[in-house]
Symmetry: C2
């Protein structure tokens, strides 16, 4: 049986157009089925823009959902009351195992809360965590938690470390991923109350390759494969990366345009700059998986276009194929 992935067709700034487009494009990346969830007429209108092959038609199903959960709604409230929203419907498909993965570019809070409430945690996992691939000068590191638990406890961080290691090992084929605790100094006594206690737990764990504290300065240089932190620090790193790369690209442009000579230089080096930009393009990376659940829920960037959706779907397929959920469950029960 091939993998089935459910997609929130209504989530994100460019939904449903870019979501549907990305979904269709992704069909050529592998042998899986898609369920598009959302306002039926809107989805059909988008699908009608393409001349679909029989193969494509057979691999796509629509599940109707009338409601949409917005970014400004209280997540718990929205999940409880909007039963006919694309997010709640999608998470129920995941829970009922009618889909092996659920992807949404919609309201982050609702996806996180809903996933925990509806799909449920793997037995033994205290809190699911959002993991994101962070570009660095050597490739990627996995930042966990990048958005779920802003007030974390030391034991959560230990589980984040295990889940992040499994992800890097199985999805990015990194052997013995180096795990670093994000901190403000390299020495073990550095940091706040959370990191000081978490250090002791991480150090004792035999499941992971803990290399100690990692200073934020060394993260972009690729010092570790897994960066462990609470979601407050993690989300700041994640968003700062996005903003900083953008700001720096703007500054490069500004400086290059400031003289005739450098303008010619910029023209000659055009490919180099577009490669650089690509290295920081979140759309190439896929979405952020919520790890620790009894199924795979993935949050895509709110401004995802078809390319971002396609990358995220590719990642979902690989995640399901490697059965990371089961691997996490086994590792925690040990």
């Amino acid at each position: 049986m091939s993998v089935v992935i459910a997609i929130d067709a209504m989530g994100g700034d460019s939904a449903p157009a870019e979501i549907v487009k990305g979904a269709l494009e992704s069909l050529s990346d592998g042998d899986f089925k898609l369920i598009l969830i959302g306002v039926e007429s809107a989805i059909k209108r988008e699908l009608a823009k393409y001349s679909l092959s029989d193969n494509q038609i057979n691999r796509i199903e629509i599940v109707a959902a009338k409601d949409i959960i917005g970014n400004d709604e209280s997540p718990v409230q929205a999940i409880r009351t909007k039963k006919d929203s694309s997010i709640v419907r999608g998470l129920n498909l995941l829970k009922d195992q009618k889909a092996q993965a659920f992807l949404s570019a919609g309201a982050t809070g609702a996806v996180l809360t809903g996933a925990t409430l509806i799909v449920g945690r793997v037995r033994g996992i205290e809190r699911p965590a959002l993991g994101t691939l962070l570009p660095n000068s050597r490739g990627f590191s996995f930042l966990i938690d990048s958005g779920a638990n802003v007030d974390a406890k030391p034991q959560y961080l230990l589980q984040f470390a295990s889940m992040g290691s499994l992800y890097m090992e199985h999805i990015l084929s990194v052997k013995k991923p180096r795990v670093g605790l994000l901190n403000i100094g390299a020495e073990r006594e550095k940091g706040n109350a959370l990191t000081k206690e978490a250090y002791g737990l991480l150090e004792k764990s035999s499941d992971i390759n803990f290399v100690g504290n990692v200073e934020a300065r060394d993260v972009p240089l690729g010092a570790v494969d897994v960066v462990v932190c609470d979601a407050f620090a993690g989300n700041i790193v994640l968003k700062y990366t996005e903003g900083f790369a953008k700001a720096m690209m703007g500054m490069i442009k500004e400086e290059l345009m400031s003289s005739y000579m450098s303008r010619i230089g910029a023209l000659l080096a055009k490919d180099a700059f577009s490669n650089l930009k690509k290295r920081f393009d979140y759309r190439e990376v896929g979405g952020a998986p919520l790890l620790g659940l009894k199924g795979l829920a993935v949050k895509a960037h709110g401004s995802s276009d078809s390319l971002a959706i396609r990358s995220a779907l590719k990642q979902c397929v690989s995640f399901c194929a490697k059965d990371v959920v089961e691997k996490i469950a086994r590792s925690i029960q040990k």
Copy 2:
């Protein structure tokens, strides 16, 4: 009477050579006196490398201190036992008003702890905070706290906001500096326990121009003038900026060197790249003032060279001339 600045000649990776060099170079930037503190023979050996004018000789004094406090020592312990260290001597000069400012590129923890213990807080200030100018695409924002209080309380953050505003207003001449609370979302209900409570306090304050939460993504784009946060988040932003700029410069170089055409382009755009590098050069920015003390203590980067020391000294002079310490005291007592 001209301003007197005390410098820890033994602090930092390149001490005493670069410290003494920077100190001497700075003398041409204004009319002030310097006290070099440290191992007398070592300082004299450095001074002997230069042919000093009478004016220079008259403006420099040496205060002997045999001990040096290392980065790996417990700050409280070191401050208590190493009375004859350059840091303790320097802070005592500040306390006794024999100097109006103290600059050190030495052990951060010892400078922060020592400054609070020896120089003391301005009445009403709960915790002094370290502020740092952070480069952004429009200029600079002031990041406070960037290193002193890793476990902060909401009311500390309110005071950081006031002190940061005064700094930006008087040292960088920014009118009504926009103050943002570093957070993981723009909405007021976002964040962790600390930011949620701090938001309420900041909002009520009439002393500052509070513009709400600022997401890390908007910081490098210059969305606010003062970024308020605890020292854990602040230090991560600070160090991440350093590492990310370095990593990105490395990636730019890598991409530019990857083809013949882009190599020529890089050559033509050489000036543009060196300007870009300069915008992220911490050495141009000066040191990080510890605000909220009854005197000015400034922490320079551990790897400061003579240029960094010279910039930091310039900043000290400007800080003393504007009497920021007194302005903070008055603002807090209101």
